[in-house]
Subunit: 342 residues, 2 copies
DNA sequence: TCTGGCAGTCTAGCGCATAGAGTGCTAAAC
DNA sequence: GTTTAGCACTCTATGCGCTAGACTGCCAGA
């Protein structure tokens, strides 16, 4: 691939750059003439046409039909993102605005996530998605056993760092609240600050019921399917207005992707601190062929991490999207490290 | 309104009924002739046309244009729902299937809500929405104070019934975890099983820090804006495929409604046990003019209640929707009363 | 009160012609 | 060798006219 990319002359790069920018802005195929007047190119439209033909030959552009302007291909966007975009940063003013919003929010992770989703959607003009940070090695902080119905008990499990999970369990024989509290106390003193493997190996002197609870604890600690409630979204309505989603099938693909965020796991393999760009489903996601994603992990590597990102049409303002995702991810990482580090 | 409705002859009612059913099924205007062969009407198409004209005169039907079939108006749907539908119940078999699914799910409220959303979306062919049950008079079960960063403390508040809220607070001067635990213990013994007003009136012998925490407790207990994470949705992708949502503006209205479920508060005023049907936005929601909602509250009145329902085009299978919403709401009410009653 | 029949109306679809936008190519100019 | 001007060509979008077809509305008769 590199050999091909090297062949682009500076002017061809400029032209590709301009085409991406104007197409992103206008959603209409870009003609050679319109490029001239838009930007200060000091050549004629015929010259631009020649370069366009070369770029099309190399696979960076297409034609909807013979007498239409040019449109970037996925490969064109990829080249744009990796070679032409450079290191974009959000303007200082916007960064300040965003940071200000975060500092004004209540000191709650859920608020921050919601805010992150709103900022991403607005600034990157896409549908945003933010998943809660999850502990890589959850440790128990505290557990409560609450008697409800005769044979039903509610277990509440608080992890170090404050994540909470709850689950019902059924009793074979009834226990009153005092007995439950006693069991909870025993388990608390036994397993406080333990991780899953410690809980699994350390099983001394437990009643049958306590052993049952212990098994449930292990299950909850190794279960890594994030409850869907821990996902925040925003901007779907706006992005569905984009012209690429007048076709219901495209719209459906996007909405499906957002409703089933578990697929992100398969997509995202970047480290905290880097931003990953997936263009046009990148072959793997046929249905998302006209969508792009800009994703990042945030949090503290090896400790607690979450995912955030933006979905939109391939005709996406990549500069804004990437810089916003990076900035918001960094902010969220700081918040996580403030919150969860001991 | 009653006088007008009384004027409908039995045959006119039959015709309205048939038109609603076939239009819901086909999404195409219904002609007098197609009605004849669809149902065993023993009259001619001309007679049907006459009755159709009467029904249109009375406002129950419209014409897209002169030479098109008839389409029910909002008023027509309203009449259909209130006079023609009768008491519909889900077939026993489906009820069993649904109940079976609930019993197979893990004993977790979040799973039940998700399942409820899935069942509603699937059975009523609409976008579903389920909000978590909220305690009307929350009582404190337990609180934890967790030291994170030097001046940051995480408060975790567990309510009777297992609802959990968390919030950060900043310290004016640093405290270590032991001091925090001690404060938490004091507050726990002081305020266990208290409701908001009790916490507010009872403030004896607290340090400045403990008083701060107490104020935060009160705030969290009276704050009734449900965290958006406690809302489950499903079926949006499917319902957007319906022909009424090829227009982006209609689609946008629907998606907006789902993204901003707080508006439900203004809509829903029914009691637990009754199902509320809002047709075509019912004048109040101009943007939702081509949408209907079937909503219900569930839970235990005066104790803990949530909302669930279905959004779809006005051309909605009201029979299925109403019976499903009612059945799922009843199921969820049972679960809530099992879970939360002491 | 119902029905058969007929005139009237509107849409959806097709074919056609046209204007316009944009390219591709070639031959000349730099 | 590279750039440019110019021109032929292609394809779309739009508008018009026409027709077939689907329904209705209404009237006169059963």
């Amino acid at each position: 691939m590199d050999e091909q990319n090297q062949e682009l002359t500076p002017r061809q790069q400029t032209i590709l750059n301009l085409i991406v920018h104007t197409y992103v802005a206008t959603a209409a195929p870009v003609s050679s003439k319109s490029l001239l007047q838009a930007a200060g190119l000091s050549v004629s439209s015929a010259t631009v046409r020649n370069d366009m033909a070369v770029l099309e030959e190399l696979g960076y552009l297409t034609h909807p039909h013979t007498s239409a302007g040019r449109v970037p291909t996925d490969k064109g966007y990829r080249y744009f993102v990796e070679r032409l975009l450079g290191d974009v940063e959000l303007p200082t003013e916007e960064r300040n605005t965003i940071r200000h919003q975060f500092h004004q929010a209540k000191l709650e992770m859920s608020q921050w996530m919601q805010l992150a989703a709103a900022v991403l959607a607005h600034s990157a003009r896409g549908a945003s998605l933010v998943t809660a940070p999850r502990l890589d090695q959850p440790r128990i902080r505290h557990l409560e056993l609450i008697s409800t119905q005769s044979h039903l008990v509610l277990l509440i499990l608080v992890f170090q760092g404050g994540n909470v999970r709850q689950r019902m369990l059924t009793l074979t024989e009834p226990m009153d609240q005092d007995a439950l509290s006693e069991a909870a106390n025993r388990l608390n003193s036994q397993y406080a600050a333990s991780d899953a493997s410690t809980v699994r190996t350390k099983a001394v002197d437990l009643t049958d019921f306590e052993a049952d609870v212990r098994n449930l604890l292990i299950e909850l600690m190794i279960d890594d399917t994030p409850p869907s409630q821990e996902v925040y979204r925003d901007g779907l309505a706006e992005v569905l207005q984009q012209p690429e989603f007048i076709s219901q099938s495209e719209a459906r693909a996007l909405v499906n992707a957002l409703e089933e965020p578990s697929f992100l796991k398969n997509v995202l393999n970047s480290r905290v601190g880097t931003v990953q760009v997936v263009i046009g489903g990148e072959g793997r996601w046929r249905e998302l062929s006209s969508c792009s994603m800009v994703l990042a992990r945030y949090g503290v590597e090896g400790f607690a991490t979450g995912t955030l990102g933006v979905l939109g049409p391939t005709r996406m303002p990549y500069g804004r999207a990437i810089s916003t995702v990076r900035y918001v991810a960094d902010l969220m990482s700081d918040l996580v490290s403030d919150l969860y580090s001991e």
